[in-house]
Symmetry: C2
C-alpha cells in the first residue's frame, strides 16, 4: 500500500491510473478509522480496480470553537486498517499542501446546508464542498463512497456533483453500528462510560420514530415530539436537535408522503454525536438514497 503526501504527486498518480484505464474507488476521510470507514473501503474494494482513501482533517470545515485540534488522529493504526481493507493508496496531505495559498474561490450552497448540523455549524458545508472539490480533482475517482451517518453531507455533496457535473459517481453506504445500535464514530472515544451507555438512546429514539411511520403516523410534528420526549427521558446530554425533512432535498414536509430523514444531534461533555434514519412514507429504509 502506497502513501502519498504531495498533492501534485497524487494528481500525477491518478493521471497514470486513468491512462491504464483503472477504475478508482475513493473514500475521503478525516482518519481515526473505525468499522464505518472500513465498510466504505471494503465496498470500494469490491467495485473498483483501485482503492484510494484520503486522510485529511480539513481545517476549513471546522468552526473557530469546534474540535479541529481535539479531533482524534492515529495515522499508524489507520494505515494498518486501510491495508487490511485492501486499500491501494492512502493520500495524507498536510493543511499546507491542500491550502498552499490564500483561497480566492469559495463554494457555497444555498439550500440543504441551513438545517440539521448546518444551522449550528456556519461554514461547515462550504468547507466540505471545497475540500471535496479539491480531492475529486486530485484523485479523479470513478466512484466516491460516503457513509450515511453524515446524511446531510451526502445530500450536499450530491448537489455539488449534480450541479457542477463532476465526473464521479457517488455511493451512499449505510451507517455501521455497534452491537447495541450506536452509530460508529471517531468521536465516540470522547464519551465517558455513563455517556456511552446513554448514547444508545439516539438510535432507539430514531427507531421509535420510524416505527410510528410504519404504524401509520404521517404527521412530522408528532413524530419529532415523541422522539424528543423519548431522548429527554433517557439521557443527560444536551439535545441539539431532532428534525425531520424530505431527503435528499432537506425541505420541510407537512405530511410524510416521500422519502424523509429523521435526524438527531446530542451534545455530550466532550463529544457531539449525530445519527439519522432515512426512510420512505411507509417507514421502509430504501436502497435508493438519491
Amino acid at each position: 500500500m502506497e502513501v502519498i503526501r504531495s498533492a501534485a504527486e497524487m494528481q500525477k498518480k491518478s493521471f497514470a491510473f486513468i491512462r491504464e484505464s483503472k477504475t478508482i474507488g475513493f473514500v475521503p476521510t478525516m482518519g481515526f478509522f473505525h468499522e464505518g470507514h472500513v465498510a466504505l473501503m471494503e465496498q470500494a474494494r469490491r467495485e473498483n480496480d483501485l482503492v484510494i482513501t484520503s486522510i485529511f482533517v480539513n481545517p476549513l470545515q471546522f468552526g473557530p470553537n469546534e474540535d479541529y485540534e481535539r479531533y482524534p488522529r492515529n495515522e499508524a493504526n489507520d494505515l494498518a486498517l486501510a491495508a487490511d481493507a485492501g486499500v491501494d493508496l492512502v493520500f495524507i496531505p498536510s493543511a499546507a499542501e491542500m491550502y498552499p495559498a490564500k483561497m480566492l474561490i469559495s463554494l457555497t450552497i444555498e439550500e440543504r446546508a441551513n438545517v440539521l448540523c448546518g444551522r449550528t455549524r456556519p461554514g461547515h458545508f462550504e468547507g466540505v464542498l471545497t475540500v471535496l472539490a479539491k480531492l475529486f480533482h486530485l484523485i479523479q475517482p470513478t466512484k466516491a463512497y460516503f457513509g450515511m451517518k453524515d446524511a446531510q453531507q451526502f445530500s450536499v455533496v450530491s448537489a455539488l456533483v449534480d450541479n457542477l457535473n463532476f465526473p464521479v459517481q457517488l455511493i451512499a453506504v449505510p451507517t455501521v453500528r455497534e452491537s447495541d445500535g450506536l452509530a460508529k464514530s471517531s468521536r465516540n472515544v470522547n464519551l465517558d462510560e455513563k455517556e456511552r451507555k446513554e448514547a444508545v438512546s439516539l438510535y432507539k429514539a430514531l427507531q421509535h420514530g420510524r416505527q410510528l411511520v410504519v404504524d401509520g403516523e404521517k404527521n412530522p410534528a408528532i413524530i419529532v415530539k415523541e422522539v424528543k420526549e423519548q431522548i429527554a427521558s433517557q439521557l443527560n446530554g444536551k439535545m441539539d436537535y431532532v428534525e425531520l425533512w424530505s431527503y435528499p432535498a432537506l425541505e420541510p414536509v407537512s405530511v410524510i408522503d416521500r422519502q424523509v430523514i429523521l435526524a438527531i444531534a446530542v451534545q455530550f461533555e466532550k463529544a457531539r454525536l449525530i445519527d439519522n434514519l432515512v426512510f420512505d412514507e411507509r417507514g421502509c429504509i430504501g436502497s435508493q438514497i438519491r
Copy 2:
C-alpha cells in the same frame, strides 16, 4: 466533425477519449467565431490528439440589463469555421441542458473580480466560474485555451483551477487583432462605420501607455491619466474605465515593478469593447502570463 448537444453524452464521450489515452484540447466559447477563436482552435489542434470546442452563450454570466438576448449567434458559420480549424467535436448544449434544475451550488471569487469589467458586471465572473467548472467536468480536457483579450477572465479562471486543483492546464493565447490593431471581438459587428474607425484608438492608447513604461515611466497614475486623455481626444464612445493592476493578481500597484495589465473598456452605442496589454516593468510583453 461531430456535434453533441447533450451534457450526458458529452461526458460519456470524454470518458471514452480518456480511456483511449487521447489528450483533449478544449476551447470554450460563446460562438460567433472570428479569427480570435480560430487561433485558439489552431493552437489546440497543434498541441493535442483531439480538439473540442463548446458553443454556449451562458445566461449565468450576463446581468439583467446586458446583451444576453442580443449576443450574436451564427451556428452554421461557427461549425464551418471549426471544421476548417480542425476541431473534432463541437459541444452545443442548450441552457436547459446546462442548467436542468435550480442551481444550489455557487462559485464565488473574493479578489480579482471586483476591478475592471467585474466592477460593473456583478455576478459576471461567478457565472463564468460556474459554467467553466461544469464544462471542465463534462469535457475533461488536458489543456484549455483562453484568449488574452479577456485577461481578467484568464486571471479568474487561473484562480479557480489553482485553488480547486482542476486537472487541466490553462493556456493563454495572445489577442488576435485586425490589421489596424482593433482586437477581434464578436461584438465588433455591432459598431457602426464611424465607431469602427474610432475603435482603433483603444489599442493605440494601450500601445502609448506601454511605450511610456518602455521609456521609463513607472508611475501608474501618470500612465492611466495619459491613456485616458488620448482616448478622450479620439473617440465619442463613453469611456468605461482605464485601469492598471498587477497581473494576474489584479492588485493595486503604486509603482510598476512587476507584470501588470493596462486595460480599457469603452461603451459604444450598441457594443461595449474591451482591450488590454499585459507587460512587465520594462514594458515587455512576456510569454509567461501566469
